[in-house]
């Protein structure tokens, strides 16, 4: 990613020195990225369907209707008015989420009971949602393993994701945050590598959130926990693992949303091209 011997520098147009094209993403990074997009989309949608079947989260080893919930989404009719009400309960606080969670309206305006709206889910029934979720979990795990091995062997993590010493200086950290707040994009040499916040976010997602996603998912399998019972202790029980699985899924959704917004703010065409063809145009430094 940083200009190295593999970086093909091509002059473009009349001002060859101004706009530089670098080869930013290897074939493997691009391929695993898009397979990951497919996996995470279908995992999320089938996962929301699985949640809808029992829209309550608990803490500890057991959890069923009647046990205090960490989160519960419910649709009901208001006793006084008969109007459909969507209720989201976090801890012991209730929020009216009619139209968003609990009760949503279809394209004809008819209310529909269900934690997450049907359009966001995949699988007409629990059995089909389970099939999709587990199939995509396999693809995700295989894809992720290839990415991790390739990243270690090729030095992608060390070279592109590990923060450089200079980036960790307090002054640099502050200026990085300041640049983000001003939505100021890197130019020239700076644009050839990820900035510190970017690196830390990617590292957290790759080495913390995604592994937590996989491990909490495995903790829900009675066959896997027969072999790896420590997973229960790691996450505080099967129901806690299910709750953490849901929370990490939400973190991933937030990450993807920020990721997409950042891409749109930083030149959607250029960045999409770099993740499809590998080629990324560097904006020249401002002169003076």
């Amino acid at each position: 990613m940083a200009v190295s011997e593999q970086a093909a520098t091509i002059g473009v147009g009349a001002t060859p020195a101004r706009r530089e094209i670098i080869y930013r993403h290897s074939v493997l990074v691009r391929l695993t990225h898009w397979v990951n997009v497919l996996c995470l989309t279908l995992l999320l949608m089938s996962g929301l369907k699985l949640f809808n079947v029992h829209p309550a989260l608990y803490w500890g080893n057991y959890g069923y209707p009647g046990v205090p919930t960490v989160l519960a989404i419910d649709g009901m009719l208001d006793r006084a008015t008969g109007q459909p009400v969507g209720n989201t309960r976090i801890g012991d606080r209730n929020f009216d989420t009619t139209g968003i969670l609990g009760v949503t309206y279809d394209s004809d305006g008819r209310p529909r009971r269900g934690a997450f709206p049907v359009w966001a889910t995949l699988g007409s029934g629990l059995a089909l949602a389970r099939d999709w979720h587990f199939l995509m979990a396999w693809l995700f795990a295989i894809n992720g393993t290839i990415y991790l091995l390739a990243g270690l062997i090729s030095g992608h993590f060390r070279r592109d994701l590990a923060p450089a010493a200079a980036q960790l200086r307090p002054r640099h950290i502050l200026s990085d945050i300041w640049n983000h707040l001003r939505l100021r994009r890197a130019r020239g040499e700076d644009a050839k590598s990820y900035n510190l916040l970017q690196k830390l976010t990617y590292l957290a997602v790759i080495f913390l959130v995604l592994p937590a996603m996989v491990l909490t998912g495995l903790t829900m399998s009675p066959a896997v926990t027969a072999v790896l019972p420590f997973l229960f202790d790691l996450f505080g029980g099967r129901q806690s693992a299910r709750t953490i699985h849901f929370i990490t899924a939400n973190l991933l959704v937030i990450f993807v949303m920020v990721h997409i917004i950042e891409v749109m703010l930083s030149g959607a065409f250029n960045l999409m091209r770099s993740m499809i063809t590998g080629r990324y145009a560097i904006r020249p430094e401002r002169t003076s």
């Binding site: 949640f51 080893n61 057991y62 209707p65 389970r130 199939l135 027969a226 072999v227």
Partner: protein, 255 residues
């Protein structure tokens, strides 16, 4: 060189357009049952075989202490079989009830509940996980299935153990389930007649239910009345090896 790039770009655009149009026309044709079935079955095959490798040493699931038992244990599926036959069985304390073991066995066996209770017993406090997402912890007492199968002796060719139940969860369809010998001979696979220190309640499958601890809820058949050893599952019920399996659920439910 530039021609190659153009071709590749053309391909990418065409691919993106086709994915886009599929998404626009709705996901059902793409993600529906029939067209993707071979792929989804492949996923199930992967899970089964990966788990079999992981479980080669036949480890036990975690067993909990009495203090860990959950305050309640939601019954699922049938909570009281219909019909006069079951009514008579319960009101006579299952005096006339018998467990039959037949099929591909060397000796057909018929046992009363009292006779089963005199066989070597195993008691385990385990977690019951429903495919819906909830879970509860209960204590189960029963006879290991392996013991019963050794009593009867499996004939050559026996590959699956089928559990025939007394309850019709749907009119005309008696509940049934099946496991293969890998799970059948696991030490924690028991036929339970006791729950939480008492006789197995009606809503949990009295007088006898299967506990197959490394699989989820619906595999743990209740109201078991007959155990059959078979070489294949396709001649039973809908041919998929269980009541829920015939309705699209996974035969292997270790996840």
């Amino acid at each position: 060189m530039s021609r190659i790039i153009i071709t590749r770009r053309g391909l990418l655009v065409a691919g993106a357009a086709s994915i886009g149009s599929t998404l626009l026309t709705g996901c059902d044709p793409l993600f529906g049952e029939s067209s993707m079935r071979p792929l989804l079955d492949f996923g199930q095959w992967m899970s089964l075989h990966a788990h079999r490798v992981l479980l080669t040493a036949q480890p036990l699931v975690r067993e909990y202490t009495l203090a860990d038992i959950s305050p309640a244990f939601p019954p699922n599926g049938t909570e009281m079989p219909d019909g006069d036959d079951y009514f008579d069985l319960v009101s006579s304390q299952f005096a006339k009830w018998r467990l039959k073991i037949d099929g591909l066995v060397l000796r057909e066996i018929s046992l009363s509940l009292d006779e089963i209770k005199k066989l070597p017993a195993r008691t385990q406090v385990t977690q019951h996980s429903c495919d819906e997402g909830w879970s509860a912890i209960g204590q189960w007492t029963g006879v290991p299935l392996a013991y019963l199968l050794k009593m009867a002796g499996l004939a050559s060719g026996a590959r699956y153990i089928v559990f025939h139940c007394l309850d019709e969860l749907e009119q005309g369809s008696f509940y049934y389930e099946s496991i293969d010998l890998f799970d059948a001979f696991h030490p924690q696979t028991i036929l339970a007649y006791g729950m939480n220190g008492e006789a197995l309640p009606v809503q949990h499958g009295a007088p006898l239910r299967l506990r197959v601890e490394r699989q989820i809820g619906y595999k743990n058949a209740k109201y078991v009345t007959r155990i059959e050893a078979v070489d294949a599952l396709d001649h039973l019920g809908g041919g998929k090896g269980g009541f829920w399996e015939d309705r699209g659920y996974q035969w292997y439910a270790g996840l």
